[in-house]
């Protein structure tokens, strides 16, 4: 293959008056690429257009050099795991994966299903009905069904939803194996930066339906790290605590909001985490609550876009 594995050319998708994806163009080469963005950024819609599940309102998507829309033959080389967790619950795991193998027209569906189930380490539960699976198990069996035909390109929409930390590590190992040992192209969407960080080399950053940034993960991550984090601190004597904290070099600013809570801005959250309880203890002030205000990452994404 000489061209990109995945290509979007000026793709737009709208639903009535709502523009979900606006004029997005990019190319994805073999390796793991993260499709990042806050909820509602248009990631799922874009993945649906790329996978051929949705028709682009404008522009075109290509996979392995072929147009995707209305071209079922391209699916012989592509796997897709959707965001929602539904599956045929009345089937056992192995029946579900074997159905997928049959629909892909594989010569030995049972053998292919066994291999795929082994790949995601679900042998122990393959005879159980999917209705009895946990969320993480569902994700893995759905992944097995998507890779049963050993696709060259794999599209994963929020694949780590509902998985526990151990399953995340397993999943990340699986992705590395697929890419490093087998040279596949994997595009993973997520709204959580850290989920993608350990597996993706490159990222596509979506905000408000537009492609805000694309390229090397570390370069974009460095931009993200420059943004100060906001932390809200509820204390028994906020003004005295603010007077103590304001002398810290790591603190960009500190203010008191309408509810009397402190809002601290810092580029070094680690130092802030240590300094707040220490200062409070020295002054005999009680800390009632500490909460980050940027957990959704929405502001982080916006920050990158604004720059």
């Amino acid at each position: 293959m000489t061209g990109p594995a995945i290509e979007a050319r000026s793709v737009s998708k709208w639903f009535g008056d709502v523009v979900a994806v606006s004029d997005v163009s990019f190319e994805v080469q073999p390796g793991v690429t993260g499709l990042l963005g806050p909820n509602g950024a248009g990631k799922t819609t874009l993945l649906h257009v790329i996978s051929g599940l949705a028709r682009p309102s404008q522009g075109e998507a290509f996979m392995l050099g072929e147009r995707v829309w209305n071209n079922p033959e391209v699916y012989r080389r592509v796997g897709f795991v959707s965001e929602h967790e539904s599956a045929y619950g009345f089937y056992t795991g192995s029946q579900f994966v074997e159905l997928s193998a049959c629909l892909f027209g594989l010569p030995d569906p049972a053998d292919a299903a066994d291999r795929a189930i082994g790949y995601v380490a679900m042998e122990h539960a393959q005879s159980r009905k999917i209705d009895t699976y946990s969320r993480g198990m569902r994700q893995r069996i759905r992944l097995a069904a998507a890779i049963v035909h050993e696709p060259e390109v794999l599209l994963l929409d929020e694949p780590l939803n509902g998985t526990d930390p151990r399953q995340r590590v397993q999943f990340q190992e699986l992705m590395r194996k697929m890419v490093e040992d087998e040279g596949r192209t994997v595009l993973i969407s997520s709204h959580i930066l850290e989920e993608v960080e350990s597996v993706a080399d490159r990222i596509l950053l979506m905000v408000g339906g537009k492609l805000a940034a694309a390229g090397d993960f570390r370069a974009i991550r460095a931009k993200l790290d420059e943004q100060p984090y906001r932390v809200r601190i509820v204390a028994s004597e906020p003004r005295r605590l603010a007077a103590a904290l304001v002398r810290m070099d790591e603190l960009d600013s500190i203010s008191v909001d309408d509810d009397g809570a402190l809002i601290a801005l810092s580029r070094n959250v680690g130092v802030l985490q240590t300094a707040v309880p220490k200062s409070a203890a020295e002054l005999g002030i009680r800390i009632l609550r500490v909460e980050p205000l940027d957990e959704s990452l929405e502001s982080v994404f916006s920050y990158v876009v604004e720059r």
Partner: protein
């Protein structure tokens, strides 16, 4: 294609759906038996119309097929599993056909067997009315299944849509405008029934059309709605 067919059968054979269908069939048979106990149906054309047109063809036939065929795609759209089929290298007609066949496989025997039992209660073991009922229902089952399978794919409100078609278009408009017979599955079924046994079913003569026209129209309806289903599968966004 057999994989999609088997999958669709599993989806359609849900406990509540089968229970409702069998209960409705049992009710129709019971009502026929009650009517047969009170009058000689072979002599009473009015009651025959009430049972075979009113209960069997206007009610049981469309309701059973509606329940099944709208769910063939409707369930997959609702629980978002349709993408497991559409994101496979499978021509769309090979998804639509097994879905249609699954509805026919589940609904056809129930409706036709119920009709045959009702006919035997009404007319005894005479083969002619039994054949007339079975053939009429076979035409109706297939035509309704084609229409309602398409409806289940194009709208999330397939059941209201189908009820409107059956009870407003076929029943109400059909009673007021004679031309509706050419665009009514009910009229096709009654026409087949009457053409095969005009003696037993003399009472359903109103609104029937010539047998070749009825069968040809039913075939056209089946072909058109099957083609529309395939076309819809090709052009729609899969949720």
């Amino acid at each position: 294609m057999t994989h999609v067919f088997r999958l669709s059968l599993r989806q359609l054979l849900g406990r509540w759906r089968v229970t409702v269908i069998l209960a409705l069939s049992g009710l129709m048979i019971a009502l026929t038996a009650i009517a047969a106990g009170q009058a000689d149906l072979s002599e009473d054309a009015g009651v025959v119309v009430l049972i075979f047109d009113g209960l069997l063809i206007r009610a049981l036939l469309p309701i059973v097929i509606m329940t099944l065929a709208t769910a063939a795609f409707g369930n997959e759209l609702e629980d978002r599993t349709l993408s497991y089929l559409t994101i496979k290298p499978v021509p769309r007609w090979r998804i639509a056909l097994p879905k249609l066949l699954a509805s026919l496989t589940v609904g056809g025997p129930v409706v036709i067997l119920t009709g045959v039992i009702m006919t035997m209660i009404a007319f005894g073991l005479d083969a002619k009315p039994v054949a007339a009922t079975a053939a009429a229902l076979a035409v109706g089952v297939t035509a309704y299944a084609a229409i309602f399978t398409w409806a289940g794919l194009v709208t999330a409100n397939a059941l209201p849509f189908c009820l409107l078609y059956v009870f407003i278009w076929e029943a109400l408009a059909g009673a007021l405008l004679s031309g509706i017979s050419y665009l009514s599955v009910r009229a096709y079924s009654l026409s087949v029934m009457h053409a095969i046994d005009d003696n037993s079913f003399s009472g359903v003569a109103d609104g029937v059309i010539a047998l070749p026209v009825a069968v040809g129209s039913a075939a056209l309806v089946i072909a058109v709605f099957f083609a529309l289903t395939v076309l819809r599968l090709r052009r729609m966004d899969t949720p």
